[in-house]
Structures are given as structure tokens and as C-alpha cells.
């Protein structure tokens, strides 16, 4: 039996009487692409931050690559992880070329004596996200979507075993979004990288991921590919005033409807 990339058992976070996460169990094999969906405030980002070692959990246990994630092991374990966090109005101030931003993702970036022999890795990573023509551009002058792709290249450049993405498509248009999901799918299949991706739009991801976990404080349902998520799961997560529409796997993104709020595609 192979060691799972991530194994989470009985994870909890937040005060006991009002937990933000409660009884989370999750297992991720190499090459698996997991999407996490759920309403705002469901604890999606918190869960990702805990796996990324940024927030210590209140209870439970996390194994990464077969080793327990603790305060002491985290610095080593995290070198094998790529992480793209959710952006909060992040206006870059530092003068940097795109190439330098990507270089920051290299595991030995902070070592002052190693240089330049990673240039091909940086070019490869930029190539993956179609940013090679902007390698020498000033990062501050890029658009939001281009910056997001540069950051993704930064997360990919170290060839992580596990990639954690918090709403990576937020700044991307629907074509770029689709390309991103296809890229992630390809990397999972070809390199055995595992991905945990938080997204709010399940319709956009469902044809690419291997499984979807519906999270709202606890994991309500863990559906494998092709499996429908039962209506009562949606109700448990989002409440009663939700309108559920059927969609098929070829639905790319979703055309914005007149009334977007409260519509979820299951």
C-alpha cells in the first residue's frame, strides 16, 4: 500500500462550543485532484491553511507524505508543498521581474550562494501558465490575472508533491479558468502531483477533479467523479432557499445568469 500524500483525521478548529471545523477526515493519494466546495465562512480557507502549516489545528492529526505535521517538522514538510492563498487586495510594491517572482518559489531561493542554474525550471514553470513572453516584465505592471498566473508559476516551480490552491480562478476569465483546471489535471496525471483546490463554483471544476468534498464546518459529502451530490447535502450546506439545477459535465464555467445569488449547480 502506498503512503497517502495527505491524511487528516478527526481534525477540528475553533472554540469547542462553536467550532469552525469539526471532525474532518480526509485522505489524498498521489495524483489525486480534490476540489473543496462550500458556502462562505464554511472553513474552506481555514482547512487549507491548516494543511499548509500556517494555522495549528485545535484537535486531530495531520500526516503529510506519511509524516506527522508538527511545529518542528513543518519547515521541512512544507518545502514539498506549493501554496497559492486567496488574495486580499494585494498590490505589489516591490520592484521585481516576473522571473524573480517565480524564482521565489524555488526551495533554495533564500540561500545566498546558489544562483541561475534554475533558470530552465523557471522558464518551464512560466511556460506552463503561458507567461513565458512576460518573463522579464515588471510584476507591478501586470494585470490581476497575469499576476495570479505568475504566482501559480511560483507555486509550481519547486515541483511540489502537493499543491494547495485557494480559489485560484478568482482573478481569471472563464477561458483562463478552464485552461488552469486542464493544466492541473494534466500535472496530476503526468507527474503524480496531488492537488487540493478550494473553489466556490462546483460546475466549473466537476469535470476536471477526481472528487469533490462539500464542506461546511464538517465534510458533508465526499463525491467521487461522476457521482451526483444528493440534494439534501446541498440543503444541509447552504440552507433551504437554494435552487438546484442540473448540469452536465460539458458545462464550461457557467454563463452568468440574471440572478446569480442562490443558484448552485449540482
Amino acid at each position: 500500500m502506498t503512503t497517502p500524500i495527505v491524511q487528516i483525521s478527526h481534525l477540528s478548529f475553533g472554540p469547542l462550543n462553536k467550532p469552525i471545523l469539526d471532525g474532518i477526515n480526509l485522505k489524498l493519494e498521489a495524483g489525486h485532484f480534490l476540489g473543496i466546495v462550500g458556502p462562505n465562512g464554511a472553513g474552506k480557507s481555514t482547512l487549507l491553511n491548516i494543511v499548509a502549516g500556517l494555522t495549528p489545528p485545535a484537535g486531530g492529526h495531520i500526516d503529510l507524505f506519511g509524516r506527522c505535521l508538527t511545529r518542528f517538522s513543518r519547515h521541512k514538510l512544507l518545502r514539498q508543498i506549493g501554496f497559492l492563498h486567496q488574495l486580499h487586495d494585494h498590490a505589489p510594491r516591490l520592484p521585481m521581474r516576473v522571473r524573480d517572482v517565480v524564482a521565489m518559489g524555488l526551495a533554495d531561493y533564500t540561500a545566498p550562494w546558489r544562483r541561475s542554474h534554475h533558470q530552465s525550471d523557471i522558464d518551464d514553470a512560466l511556460n506552463l501558465v503561458d507567461m513565458d513572453h512576460l518573463a522579464d516584465a515588471d510584476f507591478r505592471h501586470l494585470s490581476g490575472g497575469q499576476r495570479q498566473r505568475a504566482r501559480l508559476a511560483r507555486a509550481l516551480v519547486r515541483k511540489p508533491k502537493l499543491l494547495l490552491l485557494d480559489e485560484p480562478s478568482a482573478a481569471l476569465d472563464s477561458v483562463r479558468q478552464e485552461k488552469l483546471f486542464q493544466l492541473l489535471r494534466r500535472l496530476c496525471d503526468e507527474t503524480g502531483m496531488s492537488v487540493i483546490m478550494v473553489e466556490h463554483d462546483i460546475a466549473a471544476i466537476s469535470s476536471h477533479v477526481d472528487s469533490v468534498a462539500c464542506l461546511n464546518r464538517r465534510i458533508h459529502h465526499h463525491a467521487m467523479k461522476g457521482e451526483d451530490i444528493p440534494e439534501d447535502v446541498w440543503r444541509a450546506m447552504y440552507g433551504d432557499h437554494i435552487h438546484i439545477m442540473a448540469h452536465d459535465a460539458h458545462c464550461i464555467g457557467c454563463a452568468p445568469s440574471e440572478d446569480e445569488h442562490g443558484h448552485h449547480h449540482g
Binding site: L78, H85, R93, M96
Partner: protein, 278 residues
């Protein structure tokens, strides 16, 4: 002009002041890049002013001035680094409180001590010519130490300034590195106090990188430019202060300000030209 320069270089006073001033210029230029990147300008103001309390303690208990002030300033800087950011008081408020409190304490201590020994004006506005042999040795020691730490940590600090969350998630010990940065800023600030005084130190800690910010495109080019601006400003400032007998600290800071304004205008012209060039 050439005569004036050779006279300036040959004068024994400048012979003594030149090396320390250039060393200080080199150290502040390096640290100012990180001060700009991490938005620590108010920290440098706070720590330099807080050092008055350290100097007051040194005078009251007849301790050596510079080392006592250094220990005090580093402690203040570390205290500010450890101050919880999310809960409680914001960093700028904390800095303001410590700054005012320790400045008040310093004034009190110095006024009650036998103040005939203390050159208060020199403390406030700096005088490079009043460095004692102990001060000089301390400066040489720091000039060896700070660049080494800077060289080893610069990229980590840069990466934290760019995106602290991702830096943390990639395994960097962000809190420890931040503590080190604050401590080092504290150390450097105290060295500047000799040249520029408590009031003007923030200028030295900020202006070199602020000038370079218009032109640099990467950490390395920023650093190089910052050093060049700093050394140019220091040399020009010392030269004018010698020729016209102006106070050295103020003249150096003014020279750096002039470089900043020139950079700013030139950068503006550059943008203007490139916008109209089809």
C-alpha cells in the same frame, strides 16, 4: 573646486570622519532597502527617538553611551516586532507610544543627571566628529557583522516582504526572520545616531533606498543603487559641511534629499517622455 576637494580630503578632521561616515552609509544603504520593503520607516523613527532613554540611562549610571543605547534600541525594536499584530494595538500606535514614552524618560533622566557632560544638541542632530575610540571600535565591529547577516538573510526578508503568507507556507521561519530584521534595524539606527542624530537618523535609514526605488528592477539592482546613492550623499554632505562649516548630519540628510528629488523628477521626465514617444 579641485583645490577645495583636495583640501577637504587632506584635512585631518575629515580624515577621521570619512571612513566612519562611509561605513555608516554602506550599512544604512543596505538596511534601507529592507526598511522600504517592509514599510519600517516609522520603526526607525521610533527606535532612534527611543534611544534617548538609553542614552539617559547611560548618563545617569555612567555607562558607555553607544553600547547602552544599542542594547536599549534593540530591545525596543524586538518589543515592537513581538507586539501582537492582529489583536490589540496596531504596530504604528505601539511604536508611537514607545517612542513618546522613552523620549520623555530620556529627557527626564538627562535633565536630572549632571548634564554638563552631555552634548544634547549633538545627540539630537548628530556630530560625526565626536566619535570616541570605543564608539569607533563598535562601529567597525558592526560594519563586519551587519553585512554578513544581511547577505545571509536578504532574500528571505525580501520574500517575506513580497508575500509573508506564501513565505511562511513555503517553510521559512517568518517570525524569527522578522525578529532578526527588527533587531538589525535597531542596531543600524543607533550607529546612525552618531552621524545624523536622533532626529535625522530616519532620513539615513530611508532615503538611499527611496532614491533607488525609482530605478531598481530587482533586489540586487536596488541594493547596488541604494549603496551608490548613499555613498554619494554622504560624501557630498561631508564635503559641503566642511566647506561651509555646516552641521554634518543635517548636510548629509539634505544631500540625500536632493538626490531623492532629482531621482523623482528624472523618473517623472522618463515616464513623460516614454508616454509621448510613439
Amino acid at each position: 573646486m579641485v583645490e577645495m576637494i583636495s583640501e577637504f580630503l587632506a584635512s585631518p578632521v575629515m580624515g577621521e570622519a570619512l571612513l566612519p561616515a562611509l561605513l555608516i552609509g554602506l550599512l544604512t544603504a543596505s538596511m534601507s532597502v529592507m526598511v522600504m520593503a517592509h514599510r519600517l520607516s516609522f520603526l526607525t523613527v521610533g527606535v532612534s527617538h527611543a534611544s534617548l532613554a538609553g542614552l539617559g540611562l547611560a548618563v545617569t549610571f555612567s555607562l558607555p553611551l553607544l553600547p547602552t543605547a544599542t542594547v536599549f534600541a534593540v530591545l525596543i525594536a524586538l518589543l515592537l516586532a513581538l507586539m501582537p499584530r492582529k489583536k490589540g494595538i496596531s504596530e504604528d500606535a505601539g511604536t508611537g507610544i514607545l517612542f513618546a514614552g522613552s523620549m520623555a524618560l530620556g529627557v527626564l533622566l538627562i535633565s536630572t543627571a549632571n548634564s554638563s557632560e552631555v552634548d544634547l544638541f549633538g545627540l539630537l542632530f548628530g556630530n560625526i566628529l565626536t566619535m570616541s575610540p570605543i564608539d569607533l571600535r563598535w562601529l567597525y565591529l558592526m560594519s563586519a557583522l551587519i553585512p554578513v547577516i544581511f547577505f545571509l538573510s536578504a532574500r528571505a526578508w525580501w520574500s517575506i516582504a513580497f508575500d509573508a503568507v506564501t513565505a511562511e507556507a513555503s517553510g521559512l521561519p517568518v517570525s524569527a526572520l522578522r525578529l532578526l530584521l527588527y533587531g538589525l534595524v535597531g542596531l543600524t539606527v543607533i550607529l546612525c545616531v552618531k552621524l545624523a542624530g536622533i532626529v535625522l537618523t530616519a532620513g539615513l535609514m530611508l532615503l538611499p533606498a527611496a532614491c533607488a526605488w525609482f530605478w531598481g528592477r530587482s533586489l540586487f539592482s536596488l541594493w547596488i543603487l541604494s549603496v551608490l546613492f548613499s555613498l554619494t550623499g554622504t560624501l557630498a554632505g561631508l564635503f559641503w559641511s566642511y566647506i561651509y562649516e555646516w552641521p554634518s548630519g543635517a548636510t548629509v540628510v539634505l544631500a540625500l534629499c536632493a538626490l531623492f528629488v532629482m531621482s523623482w523628477v528624472l523618473n517623472w521626465v522618463k515616464i513623460w517622455v516614454s508616454a509621448y514617444k510613439v
